[in-house]
Symmetry: C2
Subunit: 227 residues, 2 copies
C-alpha cells in the first residue's frame, strides 16, 4: 500500500517524470516518507547529509540560525520542490536548518540510490544538473537583489514574482502570501517592521491593496517603475 503510494508520488514529481516504472521502483527502495507537522525540524546546521528531500505537500523553511537568536530565511520550499542535493554531493554538513512550517509530506531519497541512478541514467543526471543550475540561478538573483536593489524594490520584486501567472489580462492581480509576513520579511532580508511600512507606503500610493495575507496589485505598471 504505502509502497504504491510512494511510487505514484515519485512518478509525478517533475524531477522523475520521464522515468519508467522500473526506474521509479529502484528509487522507491531508497525513499522514506516523512509525515511532518508544523514546527518539526528536518535537520539543523552542522548535521550530516544522507540524501536529499522532496516536498510532496506542505512547506519547509531553510534558514541560518546565527548564534545570537537572529535567523535568516534563505528559501521557502513548496510542493514539487526539492532541497539538500548540493550538500549531499559535497559531503559537507548542512550549512542551514530545515523547519517545517505547515503539516507536510516530505520524501527522503537516500544518497546511495541517487548515486546509483546517476551512474545508470544520464537523463536523470542531466535533470539533477539542471535542478542545481536553477538553484544557483535563483541564488545569484538573490545576491543581485540584496546588493543592487532597495528594500522596497525587493518587496515589489517578490510581489511581481508571485503574481498568479494564470490571472488573465484582467487588471486586478491577486496574491496570497504563503507564509507569515515575518518569514517573508526575513526571506527578503528586511525586518518585519520595514516590510510592514513598505506595504503601507505602496498602499498609500494606491499601487496595491492589502488585507491580511491577501494582496491586490492595483497598478502593475506603476509598481514596476517604483523607485
Amino acid at each position: 500500500m504505502v509502497q504504491i503510494n510512494v511510487h505514484s508520488i515519485l512518478a509525478n514529481l517533475p524531477l522523475f517524470n520521464e522515468m519508467c516504472p522500473e526506474e521509479i521502483a529502484r528509487l522507491a527502495l531508497g525513499a522514506r516518507e516523512l509525515h511532518l507537522s508544523r514546527s518539526d525540524k528536518l535537520f539543523h546546521g552542522g548535521d550530516a547529509s544522507h540524501g536529499f528531500y522532496i516536498v510532496v505537500y506542505g512547506q519547509v523553511k531553510l534558514a541560518f540560525n546565527s548564534t545570537k537568536g537572529t535567523e535568516k530565511v534563505v528559501k521557502l520550499v513548496g510542493p514539487g520542490q526539492s532541497f539538500g542535493e548540493a550538500v549531499m554531493f559535497l559531503g559537507k554538513p548542512y550549512p542551514l536548518s530545515a523547519h517545517v512550517l505547515a503539516d507536510s509530506l516530505v520524501l527522503h531519497l537516500s544518497k546511495a540510490v541517487v548515486y546509483e541512478e546517476i551512474a545508470r541514467d544520464p537523463i536523470f543526471c542531466r535533470k539533477m544538473l539542471a535542478g542545481l543550475s536553477m538553484r544557483l540561478h535563483g541564488l545569484v538573483h538573490d545576491v543581485e537583489s540584496y546588493s543592487l536593489h532597495s528594500s522596497a524594490q525587493r518587496v515589489i520584486g517578490y510581489l511581481l514574482q508571485h503574481e498568479t501567472t494564470d490571472a488573465a489580462a484582467g487588471k486586478a492581480v491577486h496574491i496570497q502570501l504563503t507564509a507569515s509576513k515575518n518569514i517573508i520579511a526575513s526571506r527578503l532580508n528586511i525586518t518585519p517592521e520595514t516590510f510592514s511600512r513598505i506595504l503601507h507606503d505602496l498602499c498609500a500610493a494606491k499601487l496595491i491593496g492589502v488585507e491580511g495575507k491577501d494582496i491586490t496589485i492595483l497598478d502593475i505598471e506603476k509598481l514596476r517603475n517604483y523607485g
Copy 2:
C-alpha cells in the same frame, strides 16, 4: 602543437583529472583556446550560452552591471576554476558579464561535447554535480555574510579565507590581494571608502598590517573575535 597543448591543459584541470587520454581527446575537440588581455570581455548579461569556460591562467571577473553605472562583482575566477556551467545547463541567457582582469588563457568547452560526455561518463557527471554544488555552497555562504555579518566581519572573513594555508604555524600570516581594492570591495558588497576605513581600523587595532596589496595578519585570534 596547439592540440597537444590543449590536451595537457585539460588533463591537468581538477575537473578532468581522472579521465583517460581518449576522453580528454574527445573533450579537446570541443575546446577553444582563448588568449585574452586585460579589459577584454567574454560575454555580457543577456548573451546566449554555447558552453562553459575554464581559466587556465589569469583572472576573470563576473559581475552585474546595473543600468546606472554601478557594478557588483559576484565572483573572481582564477586558474583551474570554471564558470558558466549553470547557465549552459539552464539554456537561459547569462545573468552577468565576464570581464578579463589580467592577461589570461581561458578554454571554452562547447555544450555539445559536454552533453555527450555526460551521457557517456557518470564520473564526469558526478564531478559536474559536485562542481555546481560547491558553487551553490559558496553563494549560500555569501548570502549569509551579506545578511548576518557587518562589513567589518565580511572583510575579516575574506582575509581569513585567503590566509595562505601553507603558512606554517608561524605567527605572521601574509596575504597578497589578488585584485584592486576597488574590486575586492565590490565583491564584499561594500564601497571602496568603507573598505579602506575598515583596513585602517584593523591596522589601528594592531590586528593587521597593510602595505599596498600586502597585508599581514598580526593577531589572528583577536581578528577572529572582532566585532
